[in-house]
């Protein structure tokens, strides 16, 4: 798979999986809605809750992983990088969407609204039984 295929076939899917390390170094995963904003395969912006376990873990240890896949076609992409937790107004506004008041009733200034910004340092593609590392510019 080339970069365009990875973006079109996998990373644009509605769900992404994110991982953080807990205090003991165990990898903790969860499914999240697809990134609200994305810059190629390098930068991903997710929306989450400031009080969440994930935010607490990333604030202690920013080393993170992302995984996106098409289970039925046995293709996936894994990315490793740094996850920042952003609560400034500009970051919140950049990912805010109509309807988010369902989760953050105070709107874009809700103190429980938090942006996760992931910046990849490298990745690995999986297609069938084949896997291959790639670098991120």
């Amino acid at each position: 798979m080339n970069r365009a295929e990875i973006e079109q076939r996998i990373v644009s899917r509605p769900t992404a999986f994110v991982a953080s390390a807990d205090e003991a170094g165990y990898s903790c995963m969860k499914a999240m809605l697809a990134p609200r904003v994305r810059e190629g395969l390098r930068v991903f912006y997710f929306t989450t809750d400031t009080h969440s376990m994930r935010v607490a873990q990333y604030r202690r240890n920013s080393r993170a992983g992302i995984y996106c896949c098409d289970e039925e076609r046995f293709v996936g992409v894994m990315l490793c990088g740094e996850m920042e937790t952003l609560t400034d107004a500009a970051s919140r506004e950049a990912v805010w969407r109509d309807g988010d008041t369902e989760y953050d009733p105070l709107g874009v200034d809700d103190p429980d609204d938090c942006v996760l910004r992931f910046t990849a340092r490298g990745g690995r593609t999986y297609a069938g039984c084949q896997s291959e590392n790639f670098t991120i510019e």
Copy 2:
């Protein structure tokens, strides 16, 4: 969700996600076929390749994560625990299935056949916007 619901609705699905830590401590995820053998929510046996990146990472650092989910229903379960890499005959035979010669042409004694045994120490369920920790006996 109670334990029975977690097992029936989520953990029995055809795909599981496993995570390991690379040498720098970044969480590396990938999708795997469902565990071949499972003892409740505590012990999971997967089949993989001895030469795989995952096996190398677990041999250096056994701290692991597993995640199973039903994306459409927004329910998932995350488990943290230890991953062992087993290549003894009894472990291989316990998870061997007809048809595995497609991946390990030498049969159950193929040196590239490896069993991953995960033993959970704790977990967290996700259902909609709710999440809850649970312990493993």
